[in-house]
């Protein structure tokens, strides 16, 4: 187990180097001079362009630029945005918000998604099953920005139950969290239902029932635990994606999170900002996936890591 974890951690190093290099190259090689757009319809003063070019080492060949950047990164210097804010500070202020948002979304997925899936599977073909199928179908087929805007106008503007936009506090993140989690919630419910239905027909469930275990225990311990493996895989991957992919939701609700930061970074050609934010994202994504892999062993005794 320990060796497995160490091996996985070591594997992360080349992955991180590779992804950061790709992102760095891609952002800085976007067409157009990042400083050409800074002065509206007139060319910027040459002295300004010179100062910024020096600051971001843009005169060096790409590899050297990248290594200078990484050298700073390793020593904890993430560089500065064009507006002179330390990127590290910006990440520190934004990550907790995005993480909170993702956790709320995941919480919604787990709580509502799994419950709905289990209820649907237990009464297959019944009213609850049909309700879950139809409602998840509707959620899956509506784009998230429609759900987001509808929720914002209904519960924020008209009913006034929630703040229309978020300032990063927990309460103001609830509605965006629900919207963000709604799509995956539908997937989780359907995944949960299918797996549970299948496992309820498995031999070991029949054996457990035959030897006289109470129905609660058969479902709760035997069938449910095994059915959770694909769901956990999905949720793990989803959590990683939510930490970086909430650009649309963060935009609608003006959440001061990482998605907005990356979006702005790409728009303004801020290579350093985008790379720093994405590096952290990749790291989180890898760690979450490691955690998911370790969880398999907990859920399924047949899986062992050594």
């Amino acid at each position: 187990m320990g060796r497995y974890v160490i091996r996985r951690l070591l594997q992360m190093v080349p992955v991180i180097l590779g992804t950061t290099f790709l992102i760095y190259v891609l952002v800085w090689s976007l067409p157009g001079d990042p400083f050409a757009a800074k002065c509206g319809d007139r060319p910027c003063p040459p002295a300004y362009i010179e100062r910024m070019t020096n600051e971001y080492n843009l005169d060096d060949p790409l590899f050297i630029q990248y290594f200078k950047y990484m050298a700073n990164l390793v020593t904890g210097d993430f560089g500065q945005t064009f507006s002179g804010v330390d990127i590290a500070d910006e990440l520190i202020s934004r990550y907790p918000t995005t993480a909170q948002l993702a956790l709320i979304a995941i919480g919604v997925e787990i709580l509502i998604g799994i419950t709905a899936g289990v209820l649907a599977a237990l009464r297959r073909g019944g009213f609850v099953d049909n309700l879950v199928l139809v409602s998840t179908l509707i959620v899956v087929s509506i784009p998230v920005f429609v759900i987001g805007l509808l929720a914002q106008i209904t519960f924020g503007v008209q009913l006034g139950w929630f703040p229309v936009t978020s300032d990063g506090t927990f309460y103001s993140l609830l509605m965006p969290g629900f919207v963000l989690g709604s799509l995956s919630l539908a997937f989780v419910a359907r995944l949960m239902r299918t797996n549970l239905v299948e496992n309820l027909r498995a031999d070991y469930v029949r054996t457990a029932t035959a030897k006289g275990l109470p129905r609660k225990r058969v479902i709760g311990v035997h069938a449910l635990r095994n059915s959770l493996i694909p769901v956990i895989t999905f949720i793990g991957a989803d959590f990683g994606a939510l930490l970086g992919g909430a650009i649309v939701t963060e935009g609608i609700f003006n959440v001061p999170g990482v998605g907005n930061m990356i979006f702005r970074g790409i728009n303004q050609h801020e290579g350093a900002t985008v790379t720093a934010a994405v590096t952290v994202l990749v790291l989180v994504f890898l760690l979450v996936n490691l955690l998911v892999d370790l969880l398999y062993a907990v859920l399924d005794p047949r899986i062992r890591y050594d």
Binding site: P31, I49, S172, F253
Partner: protein, 549 residues
């Protein structure tokens, strides 16, 4: 059917959310909701993320500019209605020859840290701004002052800055006479010089700034009606009224918060829910079909601002096919400005009849003459005179902003009336778009916008159409025009205005560019505030705003 199913699902979700929130976060939620209206005259304003540190001489965009505008008083302040400059920190700005200007300050003004505002505060700030190695975005505003070239340094043939080329740290044209007086000597006569001095770049700076510019950029010490309190990155910037403000009008509100929005549609929804007080500019989605008039009732106003949209022709050296003036006039007359404004902009533009914005003093309509009128018959006749046009005509725009609809409409209008194939061509983003224009690689026609720096006809003419000027993207050159604006710069008052009008009319002969329209913006506010006024720059006049509670 579909919608109602969604709604039930959402109501269920919301009910659960309410149950969850009962555990903890309820309190701060309520605080946020009501923070705007009450609390002794505090208002929230839609802000956005400053792109640069909050230093006047290094801020040229509106996100930072909106905040700096409230933090800094300059030598002059522009009237909210008429855009006329009125002395603010300056007691007088005088010159006999439009070359040497003597500027006297009012006594008693202080920076927000309590230090007095002296002649030295201005001279030091301007020298810092012009000094090449500081690499400031607004450095060219000091170009007219004697000694600028030595301070700014030189560029090589490719236009790149030559390091170490600045030979002086201070401009020889600036001299401090005494604590409250200094003189500025210009390279050539500039009658519009006092008009310019209300621009952010000319702000005075306190000593604290020169000690540590970087720290200052995060917590600026200004000279204006509001002082800086705090800046929570990406969330809000908070200002309070400065009790020792010496201006004529004291602000009635005592606190203003710029709430930072990445997305103005979100801000508009906040405005409707009274969770945001003032939006200086409503988003396009709210303007469509005049939706805002329904949503906001009487709580909006629209106003002309100094922003001008035109179509520029690629320089003759790049694309000779469009250099014929008659052809250009034909194209201009084939554009149905009124219909496009009505259908695409919901009336928030004003068809241009010239190149100078109606907000500046001395504006006279009709400089473009008949050539800016929609007249298909005469357009076709002019096209014949010009010998026709072969090959497709392109109109390029930057595709990262709302320009696709109108450029296509303009092209359609041209195609339809003249029978020329016209294609609206999107360039991926503004950076690429400007790079191509600056490098003189763009052919055909392209859109050009101009936002005034200071309310003067000169600002709409000289930087754009004088030979070799910084924003002369079409490399337009007309010696008569150059001579006329040079002469206008030596005159003052109405004489100067008349001369600028004369120069403007010359642009119609060669159709230096096709004037399209001037902008109007629509501002909206919540039920918590009253007396909202918008300046010709599209910013809010916070001195006039009052709260209702």
């Amino acid at each position: 059917m579909r919608v109602s199913a969604r709604k039930t699902a959402l109501v269920g979700a919301a009910a659960l959310a309410l149950a969850l929130s009962a555990c903890g976060g309820d309190d701060d939620g309520d605080d946020e909701g009501s923070a705007s209206g009450d609390g002794g005259g505090s208002v929230t304003v839609r802000g956005c993320n400053p792109e640069n540190p909050l230093i006047p001489v290094n801020t040229n965009e509106t996100c930072g500019g909106d905040v700096l505008d409230q933090l800094f008083s300059k030598l002059v302040r522009y009237d909210t209605e008429t855009a006329e400059p009125m002395n603010e920190i300056a007691e007088s700005i005088e010159s006999e020859d439009n070359v040497t200007w003597t500027i006297t300050l009012n006594d008693g003004w202080t920076f927000h840290d309590g230090t007095p505002i002296t002649a030295q505060s201005f001279v030091d700030a301007w020298n810092y701004g012009a000094y090449g190695p500081n690499g400031n975005l607004n450095s060219y505003f000091f170009e007219p002052i004697v000694g600028y070239a030595e301070v700014a340094g030189t560029t090589d043939d490719a236009g790149a800055y030559v390091e170490g080329s600045a030979t002086a740290e201070t401009m020889s044209g600036l001299a401090v006479v005494d604590d409250l007086t200094f003189t500025a000597t210009l390279v050539s006569p500039q009658s519009s010089f006092p008009l310019r001095l209300g621009y952010t770049a000319y702000s005075p700076m306190p000593e604290a700034f020169f000690e540590d510019p970087e720290a200052y950029g995060e917590a600026p010490i200004g000279s204006g009606p509001f002082q800086f309190e705090s800046w929570e990155p990406n969330v809000e910037i908070n200002l309070t009224a400065y009790p020792d403000y010496q201006g004529e009008t004291q602000p009635s509100i005592d606190e203003v918060t710029f709430r930072i929005y990445e997305n103005f549609d979100a801000a508009y929804n906040d405005l409707q829910a009274d969770q945001l007080d003032i939006m200086p500019e409503l988003p396009t989605s709210a303007l469509a079909g005049d939706a805002y008039q329904n949503d906001l009732g009487e709580r909006w106003l629209d106003r002309a601002v100094g922003v001008f949209q035109s179509v520029t022709f690629a320089p003759q050296t790049v694309d000779p096919s469009l250099s014929n003036a008659t052809l250009r006039q034909a194209i201009s007359m084939a554009i149905d400005r009124e219909t496009i404004i009505e259908q695409i902009f919901s009336g928030t533009r004003e068809a241009a009849s010239g190149w100078v914005s109606p907000v500046v003093s001395g504006f006279e309509a009709g400089a473009c003459g008949e050539f800016c009128n929609f007249d298909p018959d005469q357009a076709r006749q002019l096209l014949d005179e010009a010998g026709g046009f072969s090959g497709p005509l392109t109109l390029s725009y930057n595709a990262d902003a709302d320009h696709q609809a109108w450029t296509e409409a303009v092209c359609n209008s041209i195609s339809q009336e003249l029978g020329i194939e016209c294609v609206a061509q999107g360039v991926v983003d503004f950076a690429t778009f400007r790079s191509q224009i600056n490098a003189r690689e763009m052919t055909g026609m392209f859109r050009t916008g101009w936002q005034m720096d200071y309310p003067s006809a000169e600002n709409f003419l000289v930087p754009l159409y004088a030979t070799g000027a910084s924003s002369n993207d079409g490399d337009y050159s007309n010696p008569e025009f150059d001579a006329a604006v040079a002469e206008a710069a030596t005159l003052q008052g109405e004489e100067a205005e008349a001369k600028y009008n004369e120069a403007e009319a010359m642009l119609a002969e060669d159709m230096a560019s096709i004037p399209l329209w001037h902008y109007r913006i629509v501002a909206g506010w919540s039920t918590n505030v009253e007396n909202v006024q918008i300046t010709p720059f599209g910013t809010i006049d916070l001195l006039s705003v009052t709260t209702t509670s």
